[in-house]
Symmetry: C2
Subunit: 466 residues, 2 copies
């Protein structure tokens, strides 16, 4: 029996879509290069079918059918990934997890909330917010992504500097492995029971199994929130102020430093020529927030920053999830993307300077800029933005890839990590050895081969081309 | 050439010990059952030889020789493990990592410190303390364990409730894989570059490779430390107070609740009959500690606790790392151990009551008690202690194993995790499925087979008997 017939027989024909509109709408994620291909009318393949599971049994059946037939199974959440983690191959089965979207349980005593993996992130946050709690994970894509996608890509939220990234917030992960077995990794508040197998799924980008359920360790909603802003004479001074704050053990959930180019956009009327802007958001018990605001302000002033209107940070809070659409930008002939990396404090200045310079040296570049958005004791991330405008539209793809290579190579050459929180997908996969080394890539390949010997799980992603 | 000759030729004869004293001294870790076997004069095997590497090349050579010869390689740190993670088999090579113990680098700007894996934990802490920093990991065994051992077992420190456990403090891990390749997992402050491969080594207990280097993300030493203590009318009330404190987002590095039996020992003259004792240690910037002490006290009193002399906590701080020797206890005919588990808040009371009852029902039990020592938003650990005294010394081993089974079964039956921070070793391996499920065990087995196909790395540990 053909795969399509097997899927229909096993899951029910209503869960197996083959109409053109369905196939078209889920051919790829939100990677710029996929949007460019489409915009320029190049042939973009559609999958064999879309499978819309409603429970774990459906996923098990789909995995088993694909494995036995040797057909690629590509897991799709809500398609907000920006690294090419999802591109349907012509004969592949695309597993659309957004149809599996129940709230499983919200437990206010243990402060745990469990969701089907296809549950919308913003809806998940809203569900726990009703009970006075928060997941604490606020990626910019929160309303466009699934909780399973957060796990698959190791997503970072805007409040990560204290609340942590996805891996710090996840309590347990349910998944269907390539052999069709159902696993549940993470049973206890903390364990020393062998390697933490949740980390096989965190960052796996669909290559090691299908994440079907996620349980988060929640927080109480903050009693108080206070914003403040500062002007920094340059990025280096602003970075140093952030280092002082975090290393002096003050826990500020949001710390974002915009370089001059980006400050002009972020601060609007409050922008001061030649200055960077540092935005801070404090949250927690009221008395601690009040104390922290003053202590942190003192550190910032001591580090050479000047107070700026809190309205700058408040403006960011309000508009923080607005992103222009690729279509708008493409229609203007612009090649645009963001690239997030991280590096230790002593290297981040060189990464910033060299990556911006490298971006600007890419032919047709209009500008390259950066801001930081996630802070650690050991270092910080940077989020580069580039805009280029080739006169000849056939040069758009190569301009795009040259810009990515410019930033990743400058980062790796200066000791940074090439991926802070968007994942590897296709855009970074041939740079993976810069982070893991060739031997680390070999280890990951060995694990992949052991768990998915038929290679059916989202092939072409994460691991470098052989 | 025989393995012994190959090792001597490759590493140098001075690094390959075969004298009886050396072989005897490293036959096993600090597992009670190994001590009992020795005490009762049963035959305890010695390894073929002890290899004492001084650098990564030595480890690579030893791994390659053992793999090619199909000889078991057992990694040994300082032997403070308490779960039977190290027992030398007669023809095995025992790799004594304590000979590889350099401080590699201490970086005060990025607040990173790198050590050879065999470096003593207490010495590592002292090295960074000289520069005003702390690793923040204070297992009771700190002076008897290596930093590599912390990683291999996912050790927890006494200040973990804020500073985190080993996995939260480790920045990167260097290891020699079973195929002889050298990996370095963890390059950046944070990464979304596929699964976090550090977690293959964290908790691997020597079964997936040899950890050769560890880099920690440090903290500045706390500006101020304040201790306080409270009486709780019972464990359930004390646990609930701790839940309120952590879930109201107060970050107290040390929170320890002793039941009445253990409070009598811990509180000494300050013990109050029928009461449990809660000890808190606050650390951090002075102004925040001052605030936190008052806010947390208010929560504790509101939860029904009464203030107790801070001297109780100060006494614990002073004597916290004293442990009686097995030999002293064995010479009195006592069977003794501690067993640490964790569970969500809603289950921990049942785990406590049922595990203590189960311990007391083991023949020859004198007492069973517990304290908590590590707190999470989702739950808490418990650290059980049992003492038994079989009249017939041939019943000591079975009394020991029955006590362990009593606690692990009561924990698993009430939804808890069977291992909080001592690892699996041999004493828990046949219970591993209680945490991972049979499917999870199969995943771990698949990863083990992929990375160590010859099965040379510390066989007999971690994975359940087939």
């Amino acid at each position: 029996m053909a795969v399509l017939d097997q899927l229909s027989a096993s899951l029910g024909a209503d869960k197996v879509l083959t109409d053109e509109a369905s196939l078209q709408s889920r051919r790829h994620d939100y990677w710029f290069l996929s949007a460019l291909n489409e915009f320029q009318g190049r042939n973009v393949p559609t999958p064999l079918c879309i499978v819309r599971p409603i429970n774990v049994d459906d996923v098990v059946a789909a995995v088993n059918i694909c494995r036995e037939a040797g057909v690629a199974l590509i897991t799709f959440g809500l398609g907000s990934g920006v690294c090419g983690g999802v591109i349907a191959a012509p004969e592949s089965v695309l597993l659309d997890m957004s149809s599996m979207d129940s709230v499983r349980d919200i437990d206010p005593i243990n402060m745990l909330a469990s969701f089907d993996a296809g549950h919308n992130g913003g809806a998940a946050e809203a569900a726990v917010a009703k009970k006075g709690m928060t997941i604490g994970n606020f990626p910019q894509s929160i309303d466009l992504s699934t909780v399973g996608g957060w796990v698959a890509t190791r997503a970072s939220g805007q409040f990560s500097s204290v609340y942590g990234n996805t891996e710090d917030i996840v309590y347990s992960i349910e998944a269907v492995m390539p052999d069709g077995s159902v696993v549940n990794f993470g049973k206890a508040p903390r364990a020393s029971a062998g390697p933490d197998l949740r980390h096989l799924m965190l960052g796996s980008e669909g290559t090691l199994g299908v994440i079907t359920g996620v349980t988060f360790s929640l927080r109480r909603q903050a009693e108080k929130r206070v914003s403040q802003s500062f002007y920094a004479p340059d990025m280096i001074t602003g970075l140093e102020a952030q280092r002082q704050i975090v290393q002096q053990d003050w826990a500020v959930p949001v710390m974002r430093l915009y370089d001059e180019v980006e400050s002009a956009r972020q601060a609007g009327d409050h922008h001061r020529d030649g200055y960077s802007v540092l935005m801070l958001v404090h949250e927690g018990p009221a008395s601690r927030v009040d104390l922290e605001v003053g202590e942190v302000r003192a550190i910032a002033l001591e580090a050479g920053l000047e107070e700026a209107p809190a309205a700058i940070t408040e403006g960011w809070l309000e508009h923080r999830n607005h992103v222009p659409s690729w279509e708008d930008l493409l229609s203007k002939g612009l090649v645009v993307d963001t690239i997030e990396i991280s590096a230790p404090w002593t290297r981040i200045g060189d990464v910033y300077n060299e990556a911006v310079a490298a971006l600007k040296s890419v032919p047709h570049n209009l500008f390259g800029s950066a801001h930081s958005s996630h802070v650690y004791r050991s270092g910080i991330n940077l989020y580069f933005t580039f805009v280029a405008q080739p006169a000849d539209e056939t040069e758009m793809a190569q301009t795009y890839l040259a810009s990515w290579n410019a930033v990743l190579e400058a980062t790796a050459a200066n000791g940074g990590g090439i991926a802070h929180h968007h994942g590897i997908g296709r855009v970074r996969k041939n740079h993976l050895a810069a982070d893991l080394g060739d031997t680390g890539v070999a280890v990951l390949r060995a694990v992949k081969s052991a768990l998915d010997p038929e290679g059916i799980m989202n092939p072409g992603v994460l691991l470098p081309d052989a």
